[in-house]
Amino acid sequence: MNGALDVALRLLAVFVVFLTFPLIVGQTEHKVMAHMQGRLGPMYAGGFHGWAQLIADGVKFAQKEDVVPTGADRRIFQLAPAVALLPYLLVLLVIPIGPSEGAVGQAVDAGIFFVLAVMGVGVLGSLMAGWASANKFSLLGGLRTAAQLLAYELPMLLAAASVAMAAGTVSLPGITAAFEWWWLPWQIIGALVFFVAGLAELQRPPFDMPVADSEIIFGAYTEYTGLRFALFLLAEYAGIIVLCGLTTVLFLGGWHGPWGAVGLGWLWTLVKTALLAFVVIWLRVTYPRLREDQLQKLSWTVLVPLALVQIALTGIVKVMIS
């Protein structure tokens, strides 16, 4: 009975995080992006600096008609948002936020592989949406999504493998527990590669070629309306949370901090994740979109070799210190 209650509470906590954190990131993006462009952003909804803007957006989405194009593959079209969103919920389950046993939704032995595998499944949602919409822009978006995923999955995996080598384990709590401060300079290349590849996998600017709204409308999501569209957006922001949380846990030491690592470890994790989320927004505001060939080139000629260099470096240092 106690065990069941514990499981239920954990699931509830993860679910609440899953529903609120993306909204917080979204709102932060509204405001940060606005101020970086010399604007104010939403100011009305909710009264104080438009804090309720995303809630208002959600209400608006819920009111809209759920349109399925006549020529679309109905079932797949309707299933795609769920396929895009649910993997991120599963990933959130395994990200540890504190040093204690209970600070993770569900400890998974092969945590890194679980996380990367499930995130890869999430992209399947975009592909399904792109193909099933019966729209050439959606199809182009789907194609670009697939090409981007294939290109960036490899460096991401290699970077994660490097840190797993350093820690000697593939479980996320294990990696965080093995973290020392000097891993930061040691794994910095891997961290950069992981973060950049993760951004590309999330299709965030400047890697938003698959949804490039100025050329292919909204890529795979062009034909979506109402709640299903909102689910895709939620998936994007949940993806930011997941990516930042993962980078924190793998490369930035998670709950480690200069002080209070035992009691306030969860706070360190949250602060680092929030900082990374800010960087994600910052990059979006600063850089223009990469062209498709630049995208592929960046992955195959820069990120993959860098990741291999990092793995070699990790191996050498690991052998030397053991």
Binding site: A72, I76, A117, G120, L124, W131, G142, A147
Partner: protein, 212 residues
């Protein structure tokens, strides 16, 4: 389809040695997931909608991953999802999107030699099942003890006892990779007047498959 049925049969065979009358919960789950996986595999090869077939393949491969999980082989399960669902199916869908695969049934999806295909499939499945059942007839995975399929155990056995086949496979994949590069370069040089997009597609595809 063949691995699914093989797994199914191993399950029944394993359950047989320990008695069918008192199956545990895991065994029942294994059997049910196996049936679902088998069904998904059947739909994959019989459906006339190409993209649906690819998506049913996702279900099949995911079902297989669940089977691995139930057998405590966590690492293998996640790698299965990562490689097959995350990359191979994506590659498949990518290829399908480049074709004129229609939404709805493809009229020419039926091949004339389906009986030959069925024969080959059944023969291959039979051979695999026979080999697997013969090899692992008396093996029993202890689900309650320490996980016998965890990453640590898998890694140790892979690099301690099976390192030669592992390396041989690596060399094979490397050869495939190099071969793909060579083939695609040659094709590009030969077919300069034709549109540049056509020769690169099969080349890049083979290259990716080699890379994994």
């Amino acid at each position: 389809m063949t691995p699914a049925s093989a797994a199914l049969t191993t399950a029944t065979a394993a359950a047989g040695t320990h008695g069918f009358l008192s199956p545990t919960g895991v065994e029942i789950a294994f059997l049910l997931v196996g049936i679902a996986t088998f069904g998904a595999a059947l739909v994959t090869v019989t459906t006339k909608q190409l993209v649906h077939a690819a998506l049913w393949l996702v279900a099949t491969l995911g079902g297989l991953a669940v089977e691995y999980l139930l057998l405590t082989a966590e690492f293998i399960a996640w790698v299965q999802v990562l490689i097959y669902v995350g990359s191979v199916v994506v590659l498949l869908l990518f290829g399908l999107m480049l074709t004129k695969a229609p939404i709805g049934p493809s009229p020419d999806a039926d091949s004339g030699n389906r009986w030959a295909a069925l024969t080959v499939a059944v023969a291959a499945a039979g051979a695999l099942v026979w080999v697997v059942v013969d090899a692992f007839r008396t093996t029993w995975i202890d689900l309650s003890g320490p996980a016998s399929g965890s990453t640590k155990v898998t890694g140790a056995s892979l690099f301690r006892y099976w390192v030669l086949p592992f390396e041989a496979l690596s060399v094979l994949l490397l050869t495939a990779l190099v071969g793909a590069i060579v083939l695609s370069r040659k094709a590009k040089a030969d077919t300069t007047p034709t549109p540049a997009g056509t020769p690169t597609v099969p080349g890049s595809r083979r290259e990716k498959e080699g890379a994994r």
